[in-house]
Symmetry: C2
Subunit: 237 residues, 2 copies
């Protein structure tokens, strides 16, 4: 009997969210195995030794085959499982256009969004300090720049990046942009095209997106709450 | 009649070399259009306006369809042209393993090799100065680290990354490592496995690699020569 894919993830991570949504929306049977990055669970024990030699999330094992790197996992699922065509379409060379976006995202938008998230939220959380204004400032400028490029290079007058149908490029991009957006960055100021595209993608993804997004936001709040308790406790001592 | 792919490249760039070798070795008809990055030809004129909105090399146009990002171009060729199976094999999920490596390379080895090349060669060349010792030192440390990871995560006792047959992962990696190697970085010190793999890949690629590599080295020498002439001229004035 075919075993379900084992999917190791943390909703604090953008690619974990986009792949989780893809798995759910495509109705691929999978076992969801949450791993806490802020607790360092991806660096130790069974995950490090038996699941993922890269010590990175997300990761899968499929019939014992271990795979890392979110874009490789996406293509693996598209090849080996029944993923609806619109996510990675052959038509009009859409597949090449998605590959182009995913490569651009990896070297540009992902770097900027991750850096902002780390400076504004993750580093302060782990080190129990306030964010460094100058580091956040540098990250903000890089982020403004990459969002301008994204709007100019990839968005147009059509509903989604490739036209009338949503693809994995849209799903991957919205989860990326949520990383800074959900910790207070205003991504839509002077970017009407981006705002319009964002609303349409969110609408199209429906409950798959909504549920995962809710989990992400409650993780942010929960960890923030713990940190504030920690800070209050430290002040009392 | 089907027109040949137009391939825009600069041999100073690692992905331009790996894709050029793939095109030649696969006997895909293509029109080779050299673009000089040090002269800024990728930032202006027809290339910017009509070929590549990303202003990046390498790039292709295939029957009028423009495509950027080397990993997207690689997959496009593998899908649309007759590329021999061993470069991107389906067997034993080799395709997923190559996707995993290419994603890792983009965020790790390519960043380190490019940074070293820029600090040691490109920035001094463009600014007509000597390399900054401290910047080269930082880049060297990052490079040592990424080469250790490459050896540990991807090389094994087999001939090539996926076993007995060469794949695009090997080709892409050797061209990446040549970037620092050809300007004097000793990549093989304490890395026997890497040295052995490097020799086998070079051997297997034969004249396809040798010719492109020679062009790369003469571009490095030519530009260095021009720079030294420029420096001597400046000193005289």
């Amino acid at each position: 009997m075919t075993q379900p894919v084992k999917f190791y993830f943390d909703f604090l991570n953008q690619s974990s969210r986009s792949l989780y949504i893809l798995l759910e929306a495509s109705k691929i049977p999978f076992e969801a195995i949450p791993i806490s990055m802020v607790k360092g669970e991806h660096l130790t024990g069974e995950f490090r030794d038996k699941v993922n030699r890269f010590r990175k999330l997300p990761a899968i094992t499929d019939q014992g085959y271990q795979l890392s790197e979110s874009v490789a996992i996406f293509r693996h699922l598209a090849r080996e499982k029944l993923v609806p065509e619109h996510w990675y379409p052959h038509r009009y060379l859409g597949r090449s256009r998605i590959d182009e976006f995913l490569a651009w995202q990896q070297s540009n938008m992902a770097v900027a969004c991750t850096d902002y998230f780390q400076q504004k939220w993750l580093v302060p959380y782990l080190q129990k300090t306030r964010p460094s204004d100058s580091a956040v400032n540098v990250a903000s400028k890089q982020l403004e720049h990459t969002l301008n490029d994204f709007e100019e290079l990839f968005l147009n007058s059509r509903k989604f990046m490739l036209g009338d149908n949503i693809s994995y490029a849209d799903l991957s991009a919205i989860c990326e942009i949520d990383q800074p957006k959900c910790i207070g960055f205003n991504a839509f100021k002077n970017r009407n095209k981006l705002a319009r595209w964002y609303d349409m993608v969110r609408e199209e993804l429906g409950p798959y997106y909504k549920n995962v997004h809710k989990e992400f936001e409650s993780k942010l709040k929960l960890n923030n709450g713990q940190q504030q308790l920690g800070e209050a406790h430290a002040l009392k001592q």
